[in-house]
Symmetry: C2
Subunit: 176 residues, 2 copies
């Protein structure tokens, strides 16, 4: 099979993308430590055209060389904001009409494939690499999503989880 | 909401996992350069219980400290093999009854959400970070899958692509 050229892909510019329609999703990173995870989240957020990324607590923010190495320019094409705490970010998302779901292995969590979006604008909280989503955030979210796993580790890399969950949400948009 | 404990998760040991049923998928990495991408692919391969990972060409192989940093032990729980070329790996997968699909933006590629598995065992080829899947491999695969993207970059991180595509394939298994 023959690979597509740049022209075939119809890539849009960083300027043009500010005006294009976004998918009604916000990604909230709760004390995520790794520059790689942040950079990759920007790149995924660009590809799947999310509304914004909220970086909370000690989650590193652009500009930073190590974020850029993975984001490859996506920090210029995805809106982002920093919040001192994840609770503040969740409250901001809710004030903007978003339901807020944490991606966490929790009692009462919904399996990703069974999630019903009901056309709601949705913000997703992804937690720290080791400790997961903080308790204060879990207390105020509208629910939790769990990615089913069958292995010995029961933990996906955060940047992979961001991709998997966003893809599932995009599949659930009626027009996609 | 309350997070699950280790007991709640029912994690199985590295010994036990050798005997558990796998999903009929093989991941083929074609000259993937990054240790992080390889480590993350192992971790995703463990979580989604793939049959095996084929590491080709100059793709780094375990054991390696920088793979371990991301794989976190998953190199012990997922079967893997090294092939000198991706063409050899594809031929081996085909000889074992797998259809082989490259994840590549190509003419005639199938959109990920429209892929029909028809219960076929499936091997997925992911290409180099810069140049994508090599031409020799594209010539002999059974088809290409493309992940729809709406951003300015038109490129997801490889480890994210592995997660997104595997998740979609797992959703298509009738019993999941």
């Amino acid at each position: 099979m023959q690979r597509k050229s740049m022209d075939d892909l119809g890539r849009i510019s960083a300027d043009e993308i500010q005006d294009t329609a976004k998918n009604p999703f916000i990604i909230i990173l709760d004390d995520v430590r790794s520059m790689h995870n942040v950079g990759s989240t920007f790149r995924t957020g660009d590809a799947f055209a999310v509304e914004a990324i909220y970086l909370c607590g000690y989650t590193p923010t652009p500009p930073h060389r190590d974020i850029h190495k993975t984001a490859l320019g996506a920090t210029e094409t995805v809106k982002w904001a920093h919040f001192n705490t994840t609770v503040e970010a969740i409250k901001a998302a809710k004030a903007n009409g978003y339901q807020v779901l944490a991606v966490e292995q929790a009692h009462g969590s919904v399996w990703l494939q069974e999630l019903q979006l009901d056309n709601k604008k949705t913000a997703l909280v992804f937690g720290n690499e080791v400790s997961g989503v903080c308790d204060e955030a879990l207390e105020i979210v509208d629910g939790c999503i769990e990615i089913p796993q069958w292995g010995a580790k029961h933990s996906l890399n955060i940047s992979v989880s961001v991709g998997v969950v966003l893809w599932e949400l995009i599949r659930k948009i009626p027009t996609k």
